[in-house]
């Protein structure tokens, strides 16, 4: 196996035993990027010079015996997290040349942990999309089949891990943007509890839903990444004061005696038969491990997509108002006066999907419509949250499919926004309720495309989430494949 194919915990051992160096791992990663990124297009910006500098620094630290679990590990960042001195585009023309003068909190934490940043990954523009096709910088392809989309919006971060262009990466998840691409790319992706990871420096899409989380090659790596990024941040008022356990301690623990809820609303018509049978097999596996699976009901599930497409665009319409061409970013020269300058800069600077959502959100917040849309959606959101509270009173975890279908063809849903929005039908509820969720590989279609299973737990129960995901990953009799490209 090549160095770039290994996991964090495998590399950590090799680094500790001086079997390799961070510079060697970083070389392997960049060799891989140079070999395949033309085809996949995971990256928007590479940080090669900085990466080798950080790798050399990491090697020194390791030699001194100071290395932590992430010291010297090459990591990719979704291009939505601000990196001091490195442009942060959010996949948008309007931020094409935006260079933040500050690091986001997660970047700072990973930096402090000794991670090596190799580049910024492609994404749907402003994280609005489920296929990484709306990026101003072009489409990212699924490493398992270059005709297919990798999922989105964090498609670049997912593809980079799946294609071994990095060891792990960070994404952001507003309605499934980590878990859905993780499922479609055959890797592990987690969205932590809202408030568990600081949003400071994360370019906002929908502030009450956005949360940063890791993409990794296995669950143990996910725990290692979460250890590094979780925790209260005085710069984010919505981050929560709560003890952070060592999540790696939940790896390989038994789930014997657990009750796992299977919400009947998630096994609907229209779900791909191959996905359905893979997830049903996963349920059996979980039962084999000594857990009891029982059918439950989350009665407000049918409203999830509707609530989401009111709340997320509403918040977005306000969050994206600052891109007006006045202070930074793209400005159209064509305007004759101020109003013109705004209109032309925003018309030319944003892509269609972003404009569509700004318009939906602006409408939903307008006077006369606010009560019927935004307020009503917020009320139903509360009911949905109660559904989950109720379920977790009797269940340790909930199991669902991660996505209704495997990866679809590039271009297939671009002209049908409603079909595209339904890609997130199983992942949205988790953001609306603020609970943590993880997608883990659970099989392949006949055509060789990965399928994911999603686990959900109660607020701030990432430990239990790691526990069930890890138990499933270790004990399920599953064929393990690698994307071949």
């Amino acid at each position: 196996m090549e160095l770039n194919q290994l996991t964090i915990h495998e590399l950590q051992k090799k680094l500790k035993n001086s079997e390799t160096t961070s510079v060697e791992i970083t070389e392997a990663v960049f060799k891989r990027i140079e070999a395949v990124d033309d085809k996949i297009h995971s990256f928007v910006t590479l940080m090669k010079d900085e990466a080798f500098e950080e790798a050399r620094e990491a090697d020194k630290e390791i030699q001194r015996g100071n290395g932590g679990p992430l010291t010297g590990i090459p990591i990719a960042l979704k291009d939505i997290m601000c990196t001091k001195g490195t442009r942060t585009t959010c996949g948008s023309h309007i931020l094409e040349n935006f260079i933040p003068p500050y690091d986001s909190t997660v970047v700072k934490r990973l930096r402090d942990a000794g991670a090596v940043f190799i580049g910024k990954t492609n994404m749907d523009e402003f994280a609005m999309g489920s296929s990484t096709e709306t990026s101003y910088f072009g489409v990212t392809k699924n490493p398992w089949d270059l005709e297919k989309i990798p999922g989105g919006s964090s498609g670049g971060s997912a593809a980079a891990v799946a294609a071994d262009q990095c060891i792990a990466s960070l994404g952001s998840d507003t309605g499934g943007s980590i878990r859905q691409p993780a499922a479609l790319c055959g890797i592990v992706g987690m969205k932590p509890t809202y408030g568990r990871v600081s949003r400071f420096g994360l370019v906002a899409f929908a502030s009450s839903l956005d949360q940063i989380g890791p993409f990794t090659k296995d669950v143990e790596d996910c725990a290692i990444m979460l250890n590094a990024i979780a925790g209260y941040d005085p710069n984010d008022s919505t981050s929560v004061h709560a003890d952070i356990p060592d999540y790696t301690e939940y790896v390989s623990k038994s789930i014997e005696g657990w009750t796992v809820g299977i919400p009947k609303e998630y096994f609907i018509e229209g779900i791909d038969p191959e996905v359905l049978s893979a997830v049903e097999a996963a349920i059996k596996e979980v039962e084999h491990m000594g857990a009891q699976c029982k059918e439950i009901s989350l009665p407000h599930s049918e409203y999830c997509v509707a609530i989401y497409y009111v709340i997320a665009p509403s918040e977005a319409s306000s969050n994206l108002a600052r891109y007006d061409g006045v202070r930074y970013g793209f400005r159209s020269d064509a305007g004759r006066d101020l109003m013109d300058m705004y209109k032309m800069s925003r018309s030319a600077g944003f892509g269609d999907e972003v404009k569509r959502r700004i318009m939906i959100g602006t409408h939903a917040l307008s006077s006369g419509y606010y009560d019927a849309y935004y307020k009503k959606a917020s009320q139903v959101r509360t009911l949905l949250r109660k559904d989950f509270d109720e379920a977790f009173r009797t269940c340790d975890a909930i199991l669902t499919p991660s996505t209704p279908t495997p990866a679809f063809n590039i271009g297939e849903k671009m002209d049908d926004p409603l079909q595209m929005y339904l890609c997130d039908v199983f992942t949205i509820s988790c953001n609306l309720a603020g609970i943590p969720g993880i997608s883990v590989p659970c099989g392949y279609t006949e055509a060789g495309l990965p399928i994911g299973v999603q686990f959900l737990t109660g607020h701030f129960e990432e430990g239990k989430l790691i526990q069930i995901a890890s138990a499933y990953e270790k004990n399920a009799t599953l064929e393990r494949r690698r994307a071949t490209i």
Binding site: S237, A321, S367
Partner: protein, 477 residues
């Protein structure tokens, strides 16, 4: 028909915190453009606001001082609109759930008191400033003010005249400054006022159509603008017309209000709860803590001054115009126990000199204790009131203690009867003609003799004693 004005005022007061409401930048006025900014207050991508707790402390203080109910859980909202000096494209403010509601202040009007209701007080961030260059097609934006904390105080439509409006404003201003939470500077925009004004036939319950007045930068502007607007609307109504609901700007040089140009009209601000901030939960302990820091307010202080010091209400008003002045007065009284005399000195000589020197009471070279000592010297007969003026001048110039000045310059009053008698004899001897005239009944000349005695004693003679002795001598001779 007789019309009655219905006026409500919206006051924006800048809070005197050292740092901005959601970041650590300085709030200082007058710095180089954009020098007090950071990624947070210029609204860069990915940044988040973190609330400055001092802002809430100060707002609770104002809410308590104006008898408001404090909402124990209150929330932040976004007010969305595009403007170059609004970096995020929205202002963080409070909308559906403000921190305080249902308060009032009492305003002194022609000897009586008028109670004016306060609908709500809420916190918000200020916007920046746009500067338009008339000589080139360019505008500049200074974001130093962006994120400076404001409170908005909205009155009930309880105000019925321009005088009441200004009275209410002065009262709010006074409270804010007394509490030490706003510097009250209207020229620098620390205290701003907009007005809603309509007219209705007297006795009518329903409100008329209102106009909103802006651009009033002093109390005088407010007074004149309200007076003008009352007349304008009255004229329209009396000639059978209809007032248009619009925003009008006060033009002080012409003394009229003009309608604001159309583009600012009909905004839909699309308010919604700000997801970046958690709600503010105000505990009983927090309120108690703040209560302890509230000083006696001007109105209460005035009443107390009148009652305990037995000074005229006018004196009490002047002496309580600032907390520091009131403290100075009370310190003086404490050390001399002559409230009215102290009031005369503070209101006259002290304030007069301060005005001349363009100083605040904090900058007075004469301390309250020194002033009291000087008053004591008058009271115990050491110096006359006239000499005291001279002593005070010297105290002001040199900061010396009054006793020392009196000693150095030999200003001690002559109370020795013998030497005064000598002086009087001297005067009577050198002015025989006047003595004769006096005896013929020209009693006015008495003052002349006193003056002459004072002249030869260089003002040091005890006037009461001079009177007594002079009378005796004139009737005897």
């Amino acid at each position: 028909m007789e019309y009655e004005p219905v006026i409500g005022l919206e006051v924006h007061a800048q809070l005197l915190t050292k740092t901005k409401i959601f970041c650590g930048c300085s709030t200082q006025f007058g710095a180089a453009p954009n020098s007090h900014t950071c990624p947070i207050c210029i609204g860069m991508p990915g940044i988040l606001p973190v609330l400055n707790k001092k802002v809430v402390d100060y707002t609770i203080k104002m809410a308590l001082a104006t008898h408001c109910n404090i909402n124990r859980e209150n929330t932040w909202a976004r007010k969305n609109y595009f403007y170059p000096d609004l970096p995020k494209g929205y202002q963080i403010t409070q909308f559906a759930e403000p921190i305080a509601e249902h308060g009032y202040v009492d305003v002194e009007m022609n000897g009586g008191k008028k109670r004016i209701g306060i609908t709500r007080i809420h916190m918000e961030e200020d916007a920046g400033k746009s500067i338009h260059d008339e000589h080139q097609p360019a505008s500049y934006v200074d974001l130093n003010r962006a994120g400076v904390p404001l409170i908005e105080i909205v009155s009930e439509p309880d105000i019925r005249s321009a005088e009441e409006g200004v009275g209410y404003l002065r009262r709010l201003h006074e409270i804010l400054v007394y509490l030490g939470i706003c510097d009250g500077n209207m020229e620098e925009g620390s205290f701003r006022c907009d007005a809603n004004i309509s007219l209705r036939p007297k006795g009518e319950e329903k409100f008329g159509i209102r106009a909103e007045l802006k651009n009033m930068n002093s109390f005088r502007h407010v007074q004149r603008a309200l007076e003008y607007e009352i007349k304008r609307q009255q004229y329209i109504l009396e000639s059978g017309g209809e007032v248009i609901q619009e925003t009008r700007l006060w033009d002080d040089s012409q003394g009229v209000t003009h309608p604001m140009r159309g583009k600012e009209e009909a905004h839909d601000y699309r308010y919604f709860p700000d997801p970046d901030l958690v709600s503010i939960v105000v505990s009983d302990e927090w309120i108690e803590e703040i209560k302890k820091t509230i000083p006696e307010l001007p109105l209460e202080k005035r009443e107390r001054f009148v009652n305990t010091y037995d000074i005229p209400p006018y004196d009490a008003v002047v002496l309580t115009t600032s907390r520091e002045l009131a403290d100075f007065y009370e310190e003086t009284v404490k050390n001399c126990r002559k409230p009215k005399i102290a009031s005369n000195w503070v209101m006259g000589d002290v304030l007069g000199h301060l005005k001349e020197d363009k100083k605040d009471i904090e900058g007075s070279p004469v301390s309250a204790v020194s002033l009291a000592k000087m008053i004591n010297l008058i009271e115990d007969g050491t110096i006359s009131g006239k000499i005291a003026k001279e002593v005070f001048e010297e105290m002001w110039k040199t900061g010396k203690e009054p006793k020392k000045i009196v000693e150095e310059r030999g200003l001690i009053q002559i109370t020795d009867t013998g030497s005064l008698e000598n002086a009087i004899d001297n005067v009577l001897k050198t002015n025989p003609a006047q003595v004769e005239e006096y005896k013929q009944g020209k009693e006015k000349l008495f003052g002349f003799f006193v003056g002459q005695v004072m002249k030869i004693t260089r003002g040091k003679a005890n006037p009461k004693l001079v009177n007594e002795l002079l009378k005796k001598k004139l009737s005897a001779s």
